[in-house]
Symmetry: C3
Subunit: 465 residues, 3 copies
């Protein structure tokens, strides 16, 4: 269990944080079939909204649902037609339903066009998807941008299909409608810094996967919980913007419609796959050394538990869009197992058993720690940079000289004073000093408290920096 | 055998590339004694010119021989007097010729001044050079800048010389004449890039060593063959300038007389010692990270065979001049064994047996691959840098989503789009992506084909970059 | 023994350098109790001045003693009251003096305020300092900035104290007076370089520790000896400024009163703990790559003996002040054992037996070598940078070509010519070439002697750089 978990307000509610997150993943898995558009997405967002609105003593959390019409040009793309499913099944030669979306939401190829047909098994085969090497799992397949239809089923079921004529019933609609996403904005409680640096923290998760628990019920659940956590913070230096968006087209749509916001993003995280057994994993932004990249490395390392920090690559989730070269935003990705590296990925085996309350809670704790470090990180300026200031008369130094049992806090004071020259942020200082980030912030608090530190861009009392 | 060898036109001629190169080394070894000036150099260049003119279906290759008069000031140096040899021998006490240049071109100290003398063996000794640790080899020695004369012979022969009076006959001339070098210029077939970057590729080899096969018959042969290879290319982005020059004074002379060309050199290679058994070796330019340096490292590494990439040092061959601090050109050196590290270096043992057709062919293949990479390397710009462009509608993406067997080509597409921001060249992209250079160029071709990439300095259709 | 020791003038005097340094440490240990101010400091400086004035054939060495009045504001600090000790002892219940500063100067807590009191043992205990883990050593403790009093004694003695009433007699004065430090300035003998780079070399040592031999009798002795060494040099490119100052407040006071000098400091060293058995240790300046940092690394490495080069940290001696962010001077620290890492640190066991003549002499040799390298280091410019200059006609190259037994000096010539482009100093060249610093300087001397090198900022004969 992460040390940070214990400081959340969760346990006060009678269930543990992990149990609450796991319960929300379960609720999301029971929602109607969802895809990148359609009523399934809306139902999902209603679950989220309800969970967000369940006041647990915190202030009201704004929750805004956006509908962007089909056909809207968004960057290089176009918002697609809206897809909805009433029913989808395959009737076998003996009249029984051999595959039915009512049994499992993965049975239908995502974005299957409306289809009614009678086909022989051989004619049908190109529309049937299974996993021969995992014969009891149903694969998850989609065809968003190429009109097609099909069914996904276990390889065992596929092999058992007798020859004969099959009836295809895909009662879907693919019509002009809209793309639906939700946004929670929690404004900063502190005034913007004088230096004009970006002040928003963007955190996103994708909402388009049907039923699968880790990818990405876990992301939706954790982002929902995060809204409570952030709303309850006594102070927020950043404005937090939480996005529940369909993958790829959702981030593209949001980016296209929020070009003014983009320039204010100082940190960002894409959340995916946070409940599985893999070690916590952070994927760096394209920049590689953004504050969020360095903060995540510290947050994962200071646990002393196994973890991974991996370099950016242009394959993955919505970080691909945020880190496209035109935007090049400081947005990393946080989760556990990475797409494709665990066999359950994009299959029916990514179910509620695959995610655990403990892993969800640990991921949540690490996420809030990354955020906390970004919130605390700043560039300070020593107001007494010529020689060391006399700490003793300010009560910050031991009275009897020449003992060697230096306290970490004293080394923190000295390192911060030495490196607070307006060019090093607190993460830099912690790294160079080889001391804990929290020792650095403790030193900052003590020194700022006696006026020996001011924010980099602060104007000194005499009016000169 | 290098994979690149198989794509040359060689085999179509009935002899293999390696055999043809080896045959040219043999022909060069049978030429008259050559040094940094004189008729031996002219005879050597005639052999080259004849080999170049042997059309094998390619366009006519211009071959220009330059004569620079003795006494011409060139940088810090002066073109020396021209040296020619009619005969040179040493007559022993019994009247027999104990050393004779007619037997081996290394027997005469290079640039020996005309001398006729009768001397005792003791008086003669300071003018006799042998290798006591290799008693059967004749060393190669010269005295270009200090007037002197002497004979080189095996230590066995030296030890067998009886006391008595010897007659020295050195029938050379050292008179005002000229320094001779040859130049092949194959112009670019493509328009110069808008960015104005250097557009010439300089490749040089030294012509001054008498008879020795690896150093540098191999270099002359390979540069000769390269002229055919380059002339046969359907497209050349660079102008290729091939120099056959005497070592040191040749490059100094060329640099002094081509100051206007120097600024156009974008890549360069000095070729030496390409037929011996040592592993292929690239020596970086003084800059260390020039395109040719990075291209050579890729070309050698992608073979999967042993090779070396070594740092620049100011000792070696003509790269010393090209990489002098005033010029600091991006010129590396390519070959196999390095001067001095193999015992046969600068001795009569550097003979035709010391170089093999296989090693010559492998070196040639690597050389053409280095050149190919430099030709292909460029800086491109993604024309749709905000978010990922929709590859599917351009036929560049798989139709059925969510499978994980990503093709290398798709990763190539994504990496190129992500890093084609006008600051990374293709070698940078291959290195950061960890993918083959050819996968990168395949992606570039595909993306440029649909207008998603343009050269960095291209003007966009709207007239803005 | 360091090779540099043998070149000093020491042995000519009849005692070895090590013995002379050890004798001076002994004399300094016998001086009155010294602290950061007071007559003990003055007596110490008189010993130094006498040793400096003992002419050994060298020019007169200026020795200036400064007195800065109590209450003077210095940076963030104030010059403290002056402290002097007439007597200090503790009388036990039986009337005997159980602790007396007359027995050992460490017995009194430094800066103890005048006190006369009768106290029970329990009341006395908070004012008694011992080392339970080293029961026979007296600790060294001070209370400069917090008015207090106390005695330091062995733990054995402390444990033996009987219950009963004790009489405290601390006959000190703490009154307005001054802080005393000394300065030796040896001006450069060469004209300042045209480039205007900083031209002073600052070397400091602290004078405030009572009696302890390594920390810092060794520093005072070696800085004293260095004055002789530097005064005897035939040429000095830098002005050398040697400071004998109390720790912390001394450097702060000097910095406050010499703001104009600060900008001229090109190199600096703080000397501490130079006689103990630890390996020679250099602590880098805050910059980390200052000339003195690189010179010290070379000087220590070229001995081939164990040594340490450690990174800057803001804890230690007066380098803390010189490397505070406002000044950020290129000042490192040189010594052997570091504060706190050897048990004798700040105890009565740091006595004359703890320092050896051999270690003192080795430290001195290394110090003078670091200084020598800084003196020799410079940025030169090749006056013939286009191609290699012809070394042969300048007598700098072998006459018979093509031998491979290259002399280190020839490689030095080639490397210096290649890298003397106005951007690399000699330390850079030695590092990149992988050759000895002295080989580089030998090459520089040879090349400058024939006009092929000039200082970077020299104006060429034609009036153009």
């Amino acid at each position: 269990m992460s040390p940070y978990v214990t400081v959340t307000t969760s346990e006060a509610q009678g269930t543990t944080l992990g149990e609450r997150l796991h319960g929300l993943v379960a609720a999301l898995g029971a929602a109607p079939v969802r895809s990148i558009t359609g009523d399934g997405v809306r139902a999902t967002l209603e679950i989220v909204q309800k969970a967000v609105a369940e006041g647990r003593g915190t202030a009201e959390i704004p929750f805004e649902v956006h509908e962007v019409p089909s056909g809207t040009p968004v960057l290089d793309w176009t918002v697609p037609k809206e897809w909805n499913v009433r029913a989808a099944y395959l009737v076998g030669p003996d009249g029984s339903r051999v595959v039915d979306i009512a049994d499992h939401p993965l049975h239908l190829l995502g974005y299957s066009v409306p289809t009614r047909a009678r086909l022989s098994l051989d004619e049908l085969r190109p529309h049937l998807f299974s996993m021969p090497d995992r014969p009891d799992w149903i694969p998850y397949r989609t065809s968003y941008w190429n009109e097609n239809w099909g069914f996904c089923l276990t390889d065992t079921a596929l092999r058992a299909l007798p020859d004969g004529e099959y009836e295809v019933v895909i009662d879907t609609t693919l019509t002009d409608g809209s793309l639906t996403y939700a946004e929670i904005v929690l404004p900063a409680t502190e005034p913007a810094p004088a230096g004009g640096e970006p002040t928003e923290f963007l955190i996103t998760t994708h909402t388009c996967h049907p039923a699968t628990a880790n990818d990405n019920g876990s992301g939706i659940a954790i982002l929902t919980e995060l809204a409570h956590h952030l709303a309850a913070l006594p102070r927020r230096r950043h404005t937090f913007r939480l996005l529940f968006i369909p993958g790829t087209i959702g981030s593209i749509t949001w980016l296209a419609q929020n070009r003014d916001v983009v320039g204010r993003i100082g940190h960002g995280l894409v959340l995916t796959g946070l409940g599985d057994r893999s070690q916590p994993t952070y994927k760096r932004s394209r920049r590689g050394d953004a504050v969020v990249d360095r903060a995540a490395a510290v947050a994962l390392a200071e646990t002393g538990r196994p973890h991974r920090v991996v370099d950016f690559s242009p394959y993955g989730y919505d970080e691909r869009q945020f880190c496209s070269p035109g935007f090049d935003l400081p947005v990393g990705r946080f989760g556990r197992g990475q797409h494709g590296e665990y066999p359950e990925y994009h299959t029916s085996a990514d179910n509620l058993d695959f995610v655990s309350p403990e892993n969800l809670a640990e991921s949540f704790g690490l996420l809030t720690r990354i955020i906390e470090i970004c919130e605390r990180n700043a560039v300070w300026r020593n107001t007494s940079p010529y020689g060391e200031p006399q700490l003793g008369r300010r009560g910050l130094y031991r009275a009897i000289g020449a003992t060697m049992n230096r306290q970490a806090v004293e080394m923190g004071l000295l390192w911060v004073l030495n490196l607070a020259d307006g060019t090093h942020d607190l993460l830099d200082i912690a790294a160079r000093a080889g001391i804990e980030f929290d020792s650095v912030t403790a030193a900052v608090d003590a020194l700022a408290g006696v006026g020996l530190l001011v924010p980099r861009d602060a104007v000194s009392p005499e009016g000169t920096p």
